[in-house]
Symmetry: D2
Subunit: 371 residues, 4 copies
């Protein structure tokens, strides 16, 4: 049994830390022994997530140096808990007085106050997206195991920014632009849009998509540990996410059964509307999921609110401003998919390690032309 700050049943990640407290960190329990891990392995994904990557994201610049406190000996995981620590070097001691006295619209200030009766205003405290840094760090280990043992490859991208949708899908271009956008021809238009947003002091929502290739058939535990329900929980737990879709997602409302069902032939599935999951269990097709992220409420446009005394106030969020927080969520969404898959790989062999299903796994449909 565990607290609410732990993710996973077999590969258990517990995170801790406030945005502007002394440090953030995580403990990974249940990690298989023998995985090669070094402090520098966390660099790439933490950089992808880091604020300050481009002019489209806010300006917090931290070293985010990961210290491995336990669970690794001579460069390999030992099977004991792996604790990772990152000191908050950008956590300036300052006066939070004004913020402390009022509730910012669209923030967790109001709900944390009512739940806990105590307010930790330091950069949003525990409700800040800073926490997701540790999800990304923990997932580096999961990704390595999944890649080495199952050749699983996970890639996320932006599939929506405000009114924009990609018109073509060029996977190799995703990592080549600061917006993780798969349609390079749209970039000039998009960047102009983002610049305009930034100048207006407002923000916009985003949609992210993720695919996991080479996921073996059989992952997921019905009924309440389904692979898709765990993905839904995992993605919805990311700050600002308001919708999670699997495969064709909200589009299935308008589909016919004869269109949606993915027919099978000896040569493989003929389509992948299901997003690689049937009955809560991976089908061997590429897993596809989507998350929609709200526009951040930390904007320069003044807003109405109340203070602790219940009186009306007008608030402006000062400091960093992210016109589209969804951009930074790309490695976070990948991380959550990796943690879900890693957990289910271990859970599956706990219960079904003796099973040898006799039919061959069918080839997956290549990533859909529809976006």
């Amino acid at each position: 049994m565990s607290g609410a700050n732990t993710f996973g049943r077999s590969f258990c990640v517990t995170t801790f830390g406030e945005s502007h407290g002394p440090a953030i960190g995580c403990v990974i329990d249940g990690c298989p022994p023998g995985i090669v891990i070094a402090p520098e392995d966390f660099r790439a994904d933490l950089d992808r997530r880091a604020t300050g990557r481009s002019r489209f994201t806010s300006q917090r610049r931290e070293a985010d140096e990961v210290e491995i406190l336990s669970g690794v000996y001579q460069g390999r995981s030992t099977g004991t808990p792996i604790a990772l620590l990152i000191r908050n070097t950008d956590a300036r001691s300052k006066d939070y007085g004004a913020i402390t006295e009022s509730f910012r619209p669209g923030h967790a200030d109001y709900t944390y106050w009512h739940k806990y009766g105590i307010r930790d205003p330091r950069g949003g405290g525990r409700s800040s997206a800073r926490e997701t840094t540790m999800r990304v760090a923990a997932a580096v280990i999961a990704k390595r195991y999944l890649a080495e043992h199952h050749q699983i490859r996970i890639q996320a991208w932006l599939s929506g920014i405000g009114p924009f949708r990609p018109q073509r899908f060029e996977p190799e271009s995703i990592e080549d632009n600061p917006l993780f956008w798969p349609d390079p021809q749209q970039l000039p238009e998009l960047e102009a849009f983002m610049d305009g947003l930034r100048k207006s002091g407002d923000s916009v929502g985003a949609r992210l998509s993720v695919m996991a290739e080479n996921v073996p058939v059989g992952l997921g535990e019905p009924i309440y540990g389904k692979l898709d329900s765990d993905i839904a929980m995992a993605l919805m737990s990311i700050n600002a996410v308001k919708a999670v879709e699997i495969g064709d997602g909200v589009e299935v409302c308008e589909q016919r059964g004869s269109e949606h069902r993915d027919e099978l032939t000896a040569a493989g599935f003929l389509s992948n509307h299901a997003g690689g999951i049937l009955g809560g269990i991976s089908s061997g097709q590429t897993i596809i999921a989507h998350a929609t992220i709200k526009p951040t409420s930390s904007i320069l446009v003044p807003g109405r609110s109340v203070n602790l005394a219940g009186e009306a106030v007008e608030l402006v969020t000062r400091g960093r401003h992210d016109p589209c927080v969804g951009i930074r969520a790309v490695p976070i969404i990948e991380a959550m998919i990796a943690l879900v898959l890693m957990d289910h790989v271990l859970r599956h062999r706990a219960q079904c390690g003796d099973v040898l299903a006799q039919t061959p796994r069918l080839p997956s449909v290549t990533l859909p032309p529809e976006l």
Copy 2:
């Protein structure tokens, strides 16, 4: 720790049973003592869920008599596990031979086979929506507690069938029509559409919405036990659900921050785009969530598939046919919301039973005009 067939951490519901096995049932552990419970209390919601309510749903007709096996004495819960049992009276012994040899497209047949190496063809076995009967039964107890102790009221409806969307929202009409549709003026058109579907042997997807009124502020545990991530997990665990949205859901992609954030005044919130949850914790506003359900693959239109030997076959699903399985999901979605809220009510008082937040709870915005 628990198995995958258990839902909840404090109010724990474990379900069991196959669609055409001897019985289905559940065990509710952690239920507060003193709740008044009688076998007839389950009738209303089970009837709402039951197949055979109208010509738009399939024809399985079962008594679904709930037997209370434990945990209730002299009409009240005792605090010990409440076991509920329903015998499957419609589970005809028959020859499943043909189905057993092939994989139905869009069904869990293929994935269960690969996961477990064993196939239970009896009416879909464990992957059948029959399992949801016990969620509805368990939630009857949760709903009663939530109503009596917190005046919480939960109501779901259909907000999409194929291409149709309600044009107006008349809550009082939802329970008056077999489609749980909130816009009575559209019913003739909708019924004609459904009749056409049924004749064609095809099916269509649906979107459901649910609201929970009078939810106290403070429910939900960051980070991985957020109220919205638990709702996402709960709704995605329902058969055929492919998308879960909170509040404005996928629409937030196109919103601006200045539009989305729900401003506060001394008289209450000015809007409810967030769907009643901020930072994973209930805000005291009405909780609003949505689920999109795929069109069932159990249709009369023949489809291509493979058999156990990997050879191509053509399959038609015989027997019952539901043109839109989403209709029956209304009480199921209500049930899952009730189970999530019940669990969090108990979890909240475990950790925060000493807290008395000093600010008053603000009034909620009435259910949004946008649908």
Copy 3:
């Protein structure tokens, strides 16, 4: 996370039911698929546990017919939850009025009342040892898996009744006498003692020992999932158990380190003071544990107590009388050891399924001459 009526993390057994309610049952979640299971397989161990085996145990005689409600198809486990049900045929409807009004000394009456505010007097309700029937039933499946996949064999016996201790250990005689006593020469003396007890209306305590042979090295998860701490929890959860010992148990207080440590040679361990567990992990030696059970308070000797009004009363427990409830605990203790081992076999392969330790497993010391 799970309720308090669930045992195990990977092989999860949830029990329900009151002693004199309609039925008792259990749900086994996480069971590997493919295990051969038939209703008659439960017979032997349930008979060993049953009341009424000899004149030394009380007279409740129930058929204890196990019905398999789910999770088994064509005689094999399918991987879905296995629900087992036993109807209480001996649950006479009667007037519990007198008992309901007072608290029996040494019973759970008093504590259940204060915890739940509700009293279920039917044969002790949930606190009755009747619940352990389902542990024994669930463990039949675990024992079969452990025997087939690991050749694990579990045997318990009585190693103390009142002042008596066996003077020799003849394992083959344990199942040949109604006291599960390993020293047949003492039986006449013991039976005379038991007859005297029964006539006096009093009861006496007992000590039980259990060994598990062929347990593979490596089971157990430090720090809070150690094999010995899980055994301690499992045995202490049995009604009336007041002490749990591993290996030499309470005797280690007087041992020297040079005596206690089990030295190793290339031919195997030289002793087994540790009881087969080092650092919380099985060493490959025979696992040995002990439980001490209090004398039942359900005796014919009148005792002082209070009623609901707090007034002094004198109580006599009428009905069945067991002079030594420890006798019936033999299959229950075996069952709990089986459930712990089964759970850890699955948990171990979840985390460490990739590990191939290079040193050979050493032979175990044969069961110790010391008793």
Copy 4:
């Protein structure tokens, strides 16, 4: 759900760290908000546990400075995870070559190697008692809550060292001598015994007892979350513990039912053989438990063993030598009792927060004259 390094269901403590790695630490999840906590609050109990307190314990001397990394703001718990960190200042980098090649008798070397296939020799790695430091630290917070909200007071002492047993019980003298021994008149004799042991290079076992006063009636969740089974699990999880007893413990084997049952009168219970727990639920009497600890195998007397190649070797444990490791376990056992009680206080109000039992709680028997 959680990993094996997490203790508790509602008040969840996850520990990490190796004895000679960079640091040890813990994360406390589910802690009620508002508890006053400062770094210096951990000092007293950590000092009681620390090695080097007297000539009877080994010489590791560490500052054990606790750093609070999260979950505390302006001196109070906020409800978010509390992370505590202690740097290992005594973790000299050295050559563990010889130890790494062989298995020390009576240590976890052998089992960790077989389980994980990886050996972390740094001071025993994760299996070292160093881990218990974090249990003591976490329990400081639990003890404060239990004292402030329930006036619960927890005290442990040594009730056995080798062949010695206290002849009288003077609670006020426990903290006045380095052996936590309740019979001051025996101290000269005991100290001479300990000095002899130290000179011989051998070690001896110990028995510890603990009492918790003012525990409210009603804590504990039948069936597998009983207060006594959780205590059994908690105490057995402490390094070197081989037996756990509740109340009269192993003595109950020889008791009669008429003697053991604790009779009740309007003035209170007449005895406390049960140790304050009936049916797994606290009775309101003082809770009494005992643990027996084996003699450490880290002694100067050479012992036979094998190396990684399976060849016979002779080993002597060099470095620190503790003639009786049980002495240092006093605050650890108190800590585990505090963690169990804290967890159950929160769990109890989750399920039973609405209950108001009508009968008054009876006074407890004062700590028994029997030791």
